[in-house]
């Protein structure tokens, strides 16, 4: 489905992204409310959707992402599990193989590692190893990222552990409208999807979200603004950061293509290569460590598709090769508009 039309709504492209020009009913929601709305919509639309994880039931999730869902849909469809990530993902796989559409929550991305084995050896291999006899239409939702002064291990951003893993799509929205549409698409996807929610943005702002079901195609990035001099690529919580940097740049006479990737695997090759072939310069921004980070894949993609177009080496603005620091220092490891601006300057003046 084209992402500009939602049940009775019509969207039009404008400089700031898509805007609705004909309404069904919409609401001003925060990103986390949009997630809840997506879950609610899919619990209504598909009777085999189940939502579960630690504290998602009565408590409505530690971020309130599942607030009110158990009250509406009952304990059968929205439930608490034991504190057991391998168990959560493992049972989700079994459910998915047996006709359900599980949406499992991992409370923070830093707690997904105990489930890594289940995702690596079962969720992502089942279709292949049964030659299609069994499939795993499962979504794992998890908040990720730093910047909210959370305790240790609550701020990890290790998307690259999953973009490297064959057999799973990785999605990461940056705003309420897309959070809803992408999550619905993820739930409807016939294969496993890891859905990363930028926890720093959960309540950072509101945006228009239409009622009812609509989806946004997985695997497609979006151009947030068009420019001529440099391509800036980001996703999730880094999107507001790069937008601010792009504004600063504009004040310095540098105009940018700003790409929000939205899906991290598979990468949207066309949007990246078309843009860098126009600008010849690129800055990639992510929170994760530089080594092994998705930034390297983007550099590779540009190397593969656009070698002769590049006027300067791609600059990556990323976390260092360190664990997310204790929060007194976390801001020092997070890309900021200033650091992105410095990178823009350096690709421009190369």
């Amino acid at each position: 489905m084209d992402d500009r039309t939602a049940k009775g709504s019509v969207y039009e492209f404008s400089a700031g992204g898509y805007v609705m020009v004909m309404h069904t009913k919409t609401h001003q929601l925060t990103p986390v409310q949009a997630i809840t709305d997506a879950l609610r919509t899919m619990l209504e639309e598909r009777e085999n959707v189940v939502v579960f994880g630690e504290d998602v039931g009565k408590n409505g999730g530690v971020f309130r992402a599942t607030d009110g869902l158990q009250a509406t849909f009952g304990e059968k469809r929205v439930f608490d599990t034991p504190l057991s990530e391998s168990g959560i993902v493992g049972t989700a796989i079994g459910m998915a193989m047996n006709g359900l559409l599980p949406v499992a929550e991992i409370q923070f991305m830093g707690f997904i590692y105990p489930a890594y084995d289940q995702i690596m050896t079962h969720a992502t291999r089942m279709r292949y190893r049964s030659k299609g006899a069994f499939t795993v239409p499962m979504v794992i939702r998890t908040p990720y990222g730093a910047g909210v002064r959370a305790p240790e291990i609550h701020s990890d951003s290790m998307e690259a552990l999953f973009t490297h893993m064959p057999g799973i799509k990785v999605v990461c929205p940056s705003n309420p409208y897309e959070a809803k549409g992408l999550l619905i698409a993820a739930i409807e996807d016939p294969d496993p999807v890891l859905f990363l929610e930028p926890l720093r943005l959960y309540r950072a702002f509101r945006g228009e979200v239409p009622e009812g079901k609509y989806d946004i195609e997985l695997g497609k990035g979006t151009l947030l603004q068009e420019g001529a001099d440099v391509t800036i690529i980001a996703w999730g919580a880094m999107v507001p950061v790069v937008k601010e940097a792009a504004e600063q740049a504009e004040k310095n006479g540098i105009t940018s293509d700003v790409i929000d990737l939205r899906t991290l695997y598979p990468l949207d090759k066309d949007i990246i290569s078309e843009s860098v072939q126009k600008t010849g310069r690129c800055v990639v921004v992510h929170e994760a460590p530089a080594a092994g980070g998705l930034g390297n894949d983007i550099v590779s993609l540009i190397n593969d598709t656009s070698f002769l177009y590049m006027k300067a080496p791609v600059e990556r603005v990323t976390g260092a090769d360190i664990h997310v620091p204790f929060w007194a220092l976390e801001d020092h490891n997070l890309p900021t508009p200033e650091r992105v601006m410095a990178a823009i300057r350096s690709v421009i003046h190369f």
């Binding site: 085999n48 189940v50 059968k76 599990t81 034991p82 057991s84 391998s86 168990g87 993902v89 493992g90 049972t91 989700a92 796989i93 079994g94 459910m95 998915a96 193989m97 047996n98 006709g99 359900l100 599980p102 105990p114 084995d117 289940q118 050896t121 079962h122 089942m126 279709r127 292949y128 190893r129 049964s130 030659k131 299609g132 006899a133 069994f134 499939t135 064959p166 057999g167 799509k169 016939p190 294969d191 695997g219 695997y265 598979p266 990468l267 090759k269």
Partner: protein, 358 residues
């Protein structure tokens, strides 16, 4: 409390080593047909296993994990399933899978062929798990889905003594117990995990007692007594179907041979034990003695059966060896329902390379 476990969980059998029934409540439930079905399947599975090991020695098949000695545990439990139940086996459970309806082509998976993992239409036989204990949470989840659908289908999953040390054993049983999911955890305690004997694997005296950690029923049975295996599995499945939650069954058994054809058991144990086990505990011998004892035996039948089984297995090997070569595109085509552009591009590039276009 700690000391009493071997008494709290004695090894239960209903047929003794000489084939005599020790509990007549069961004797009546076993007729000639059933006894012969059991016998046929045991003999057939053993012949299969030996054949594959021979094939491996001749280089006609890859590394293979044999199950000789464990036939009663696998066949007895598989026979207890209802046609539409789910099975989550391991790499060693081909006797169970085949008994439950998997075709002999399962063999081809040991020749690196995907085709060996595909179950017959309508059968819920999941491809065997290689990573130890990982299938237990899956089985719990599949059982939870049955609950959700208000289906009376149950789930049975196999695992070894070594598997009890993995976190997934614990998480799987805990989930199943909390949700009272209709799943039977069937442990084949063959007392070794490759070279590691059970007393280095755990400090508990039994595996059955681990059920106490989850507040679920647990039982320890003689895995070489096909009847106790059959009836206890049936009971556990029945309990599962009727809302009584999961059960842990420990079937004590022994693998006669190597862990796999790549393993040399003389490195870590005295294989003379094997002879002793064969002489005193063989599941097939025991069933034959039972049949003789209860008048279900017939030499001509047994002779004919042997021929029949041999022919069946020769046929299976012929099928294996006449398979067309593996289809290269399979490795790309089952990662996603719709391939990503990356995989599509990689496939195209490689196919071109194969054709010499590059």
């Amino acid at each position: 409390m700690v000391q009493d476990m071997k008494r709290a969980f004695p090894v239960i059998r209903i047929m003794d080593q000489n084939g005599k029934m020790t509990d007549d409540a069961y004797t009546d439930q076993i007729d000639k047909d059933f006894a012969r079905t059991c016998y046929r399947q045991l003999v057939c599975m053993r012949a299969f296993d030996r054949k594959v090991i021979n094939l491996q020695r001749q280089g006609r098949i890859g590394t293979y994990p044999g199950f000789e000695g464990q036939e009663a545990a696998q066949v007895g439990s598989a026979l207890a399933l209802r046609e539409d139940d789910w099975m989550f086996p391991t790499y060693r459970d081909h006797a169970a899978s085949i008994t439950f309806g998997k075709s002999y082509n399962i063999l081809s998976s040991w020749n690196g062929r995907l085709e060996g993992h595909v179950p017959p239409e309508g059968k819920y036989i999941v491809p065997p798990s290689v990573p130890i204990a990982t299938q237990l949470p899956l089985a719990a989840g599949a059982a939870m889905a049955n609950q959700y659908k208000e289906s009376t289908q149950a789930v049975l999953t196999y695992f070894g003594d070594g598997a009890t040390s993995e976190g997934d054993f614990h998480e799987g049983l805990n989930f199943a117990s909390v949700f009272q999911a209709p799943v039977v955890f069937f442990n084949q305690n063959n007392q070794y995990a490759i070279s590691v004997p059970i007393w280095k694997q755990m400090h508990s005296e039994t595996i059955a007692q681990k059920s106490l950690a989850y507040g679920i029923p647990g039982i320890r049975i003689d895995g070489n007594d096909i009847f106790v295996v059959y009836f206890e599995t049936k009971k556990a499945l029945q309990r599962a179907r009727s809302g009584g939650g999961p059960t842990l069954i420990e079937a004590v058994t022994w693998r006669y041979g190597a862990h796999t054809t790549a393993d040399d058991p003389t490195k870590y144990r005295d294989q003379k034990v094997e002879n002793e086990k064969r002489r005193r505990h063989d599941p097939i011998t025991r069933l034959a003695l039972f049949m003789k004892e209860y008048g279900y035996w017939d030499d001509t039948w047994a002779k004919a059966l042997e021929e029949e089984v041999k022919a069946e297995i020769d046929e299976a090997v012929k099928d294996l060896e006449s398979m067309p070569p593996a289809n290269v595109s399979d490795m790309y085509d089952y990662m996603f329902e719709e391939p990503t552009w990356t995989i599509e591009q990689q496939k195209e590039a490689y196919m071109n390379f194969l054709r010499g276009d590059m």
